[in-house]
């Protein structure tokens, strides 16, 4: 990592990038969000190394893969942690008959899982990748479902016995002093169906490998089969399904509005901002409660208190959106409804919640952060160094708990955030405790944002309450427009890549899940720690398997 180079990096503009990549760029393939350079598959590492070390692009945000009729394509979406609006896309086409591309894993550790996913779903092989296995689908799956030649009618899973390699030696080692332990997929503390393969030496964790994919629901494919205008919006609610729905909807809304050049009325932006922050509070309350559950070990007080407080938020959201979890409240170009009538009642209810919040936060301080045993358990455990976090593409509270000052709401402003007063919270502890502190303080910041939004909404002139801009009933963005846009969801950077193919449905819809990348850093956090810390660290990452597996 070369943070010292960022001063020079800031001066590098598009021409500078062009010069830096030089002859290695075959052609340009600009996306709506960033300049794009097409390079040869055997020069991935050299280009990415240069971009990272000399141009300061230290964040491999997302790796998209897709198949065209004549080629496969991997797209590396690069950003910088300091300024996420500085973006560049590196496009790597590979021929259909031999889809082999050099791996980016030595440059960015986050490419490890991302490329495995691309191999799994699209079928691109990454040369020299340390662990080229399927990640979401079972080991015995046949074919690559997002590839164009995929035959849905043929049997997809073969028996394990048919699949196993007869020449492979049995890995079982009877002399070993370690014990292999399957934590999950049915375990009380895995926050869903996560399977962690752990190797233990006594109580010490020697090696862990998260095994994901149990909740893979083809969300990307489902979005590819829905129309931009209506049918995609209900689905983002179901990625991160623990009440972060509106934040997810915003990710899609932002990407699609960028793709189709839609304007959003200011009034709708304020409502969006308010509802999104309500969701963030609900999501962080749940994170807090389940983390306490992981450390305390029972469905005890804190979990229930957190749920009680989250319930109030959900009631407000229900009044606003009509649903408690699966909101479907955003529409392209605005939101579906204005605030519920009578508005005063809604404002009062929300204000009551905000007024009570400081007392509740103080209660959590008493229960959690002030508790000595809790500190004993959380301070100095699950250490995630900032350099490591950046390598793995960690974002959101996980990154901010490692002292990385990154928040897309501030750095890549959208909605109404730039007009409001609030702070980005960071903690330098890099441990489980810091991540809890970050979430708790973010709840307070969200409350601050909501309060300002309420003030704005209350005084908004009645004849200017435009909730949706005029959006055509059928949206057909021009073919081959591509964009990658991200928002700050509850768990971090939730990005959407969309490629339009000229129809009213996306040609490729890729979700960059923050949980997916945060979870990939788990082994770095827990190796050498004890099992209880493994559980606590997992809880502090606040993963939702629906979003990890999509």
């Amino acid at each position: 990592m070369s943070t010292d180079l960022t001063t020079t990096a800031d001066q590098i503009d598009e021409d500078g990038l062009e010069a830096l990549i030089g002859d290695r760029a075959l052609t340009r393939d600009d996306h709506k969000n960033a300049p794009g350079f097409v390079i040869r598959p055997d020069e991935v590492q050299s280009v990415l190394f240069d971009l990272r070390d000399q141009a300061g692009f230290d964040h491999l945000s997302c790796v998209t893969a897709q198949q065209y009729d004549d080629r496969y394509e991997s797209i590396y979406h690069l950003k910088t942690y300091d300024d996420p609006t500085r973006e560049v896309s590196v496009v790597v086409p590979t021929p259909v008959d031999e889809p082999v591309s050099q791996t980016a894993e030595p440059v960015f550790r986050s490419a490890d899982w991302a490329e495995r996913e691309n191999f799994d779903l699209v079928g691109i092989q990454y040369e020299d990748h340390p662990d080229m296995r399927r990640i979401l689908l079972p080991e015995t799956w046949q074919g690559h479902p997002l590839g164009l030649d995929y035959d849905q009618d043929k049997p997809q899973v073969v028996k394990f016995a048919q699949h196993a390699n007869p020449l492979e030696a049995d890995q079982h080692d009877t002399e070993s002093d370690t014990m292999f332990l399957n934590i999950g997929p049915h375990h009380p503390a895995t926050h869903g169906v996560l399977h962690v393969k752990a190797v233990l030496d006594g109580e010490t964790v020697v090696d862990v490998e998260p095994d994901i994919g149990y909740l893979h629901r083809c969300e990307e494919q489902m979005c590819e089969q829905g129309t931009y205008r209506h049918q995609i919006m209900p689905y983002p609610d179901r990625w991160d399904y623990v009440s972060a729905g509106i934040l997810n909807e915003w990710a899609y809304a932002r990407a699609a509005e960028d793709l189709a050049d839609l304007e959003v009325p200011e009034y709708a932006q304020v409502i969006r901002t308010m509802s999104a922050e309500l969701c963030r509070i609900a999501a962080h309350m749940l994170a807090l409660g389940t983390f306490a559950l992981d450390v305390y070990g029972d469905f005890t007080a804190i979990f229930q208190y957190a749920f009680r407080d989250r319930e109030v938020v959900q009631d407000i959201l229900e009044d606003l959106t009509g649903q408690r979890l699966m909101f479907n409240y955003f529409r392209l170009g605005g939101v579906v409804w204005d605030l519920p009538e009578p508005r005063e009642e809604f404002f009062e209810k929300t204000r009551d919640f905000l007024d009570e919040l400081p007392a509740k936060v103080a209660e959590y301080d008493d229960l959690l952060t002030g508790n000595e045993i809790f500190q004993l358990r959380c301070v100095g455990t699950g250490i995630l160094e900032p350099e490591v976090a950046k390598q793995y593409g960690c974002t959101g509270p996980t990154a901010r708990g490692s002292g990385i000052d990154v928040d897309l709401r501030r750095d890549d402003p959208y909605g109404y955030y730039e007009h409001l007063e609030w702070d980005v919270i960071t903690e330098d502890g890099c441990d489980n405790y810091s991540r809890v502190l970050v979430r708790m303080q973010e709840v307070e910041q969200s409350a601050k944002i909501i309060e300002q939004c309420i003030d704005l909404l209350e005084e908004w002139p009645e004849d200017e309450r435009e909730i949706q801009s005029n959006v055509p009933r059928t949206l057909k963005p021009p073919a081959d427009t591509e964009t990658y846009k991200a928002v700050e969801a509850a768990k971090g950077e939730l990005g959407i890549y969309i490629r339009a193919d000229g129809t009213d449905k996306p040609g490729r819809f890729k979700i960059r899940s923050p949980c997916f990348h945060n979870l990939s850093a788990l082994p770095e956090m827990v190796e050498g720690e004890y099992i209880p810390d493994l559980i606590a660290s997992l809880g502090s990452l606040d993963i939702v398997l629906g979003e990890v597996d999509r």
Binding site: G226, M233, E311, E318, Q323, P340, E363, D366, N371, I373
Partner: protein, 153 residues
């Protein structure tokens, strides 16, 4: 040690104040928001069989069967498959399909949750809330209209 005692004091305070936040559900009917989206209600009298709801539905929940003269014969809706996104209500030009606030529906098998047009019509209003009125005040539902044909032209 002070932190531990503070934690204990906090939980004991909650134990002694006697407040509960859970409700005794079937005995006490929960309040739902007027905007809440529950099971659908369908009016054959209003429907013009334009199939917009069927087309907009993101996961093929609605199935409409018409004869060769575009007269409606069947209107089936799988309330177990529905994601309650309310897009059908949103696109309906004549407010023939609405989402009531009802949420208490059960069935022994999947097939029990497939409602035909008569069953959909029989879905009761919840606590006499006008669903459309509460969501989009300029569109009122047909909650007070009673039975009979509606002249929407």
């Amino acid at each position: 040690m002070i932190g531990l005692l503070k934690s204990m004091a906090t939980t004991m305070k909650h134990a002694l104040d006697g407040n509960t936040f859970t409700v005794e559900y079937p005995d006490v009917a929960p309040d739902v928001s007027p905007r809440f989206r529950g099971v659908h209600k369908f009016s054959q009298e209003r429907c013009i069989w334009c199939r917009q709801c069927e087309n907009v539905c993101p996961n093929d929940t609605i199935q409409i069967v018409t004869d060769d003269k575009r007269n409606g014969e069947q209107y089936n809706l799988h309330i177990g498959q529905c994601v309650y996104c309310r897009l059908c209500e949103e696109v309906c030009p004549v407010d023939a399909i609405l989402l009531t606030q009802n949420f208490e529906f059960t069935g022994d098998t999947k097939a029990d949750l497939v409602f035909n047009k008569e069953q959909l019509k029989a879905v009761p209003w919840y606590k006499d809330i006008d669903p459309l009125e509460s969501r989009e005040p300029d569109r009122g539902a047909w909650i007070g209209e009673g039975e009979g044909a509606v002249d929407y032209q």
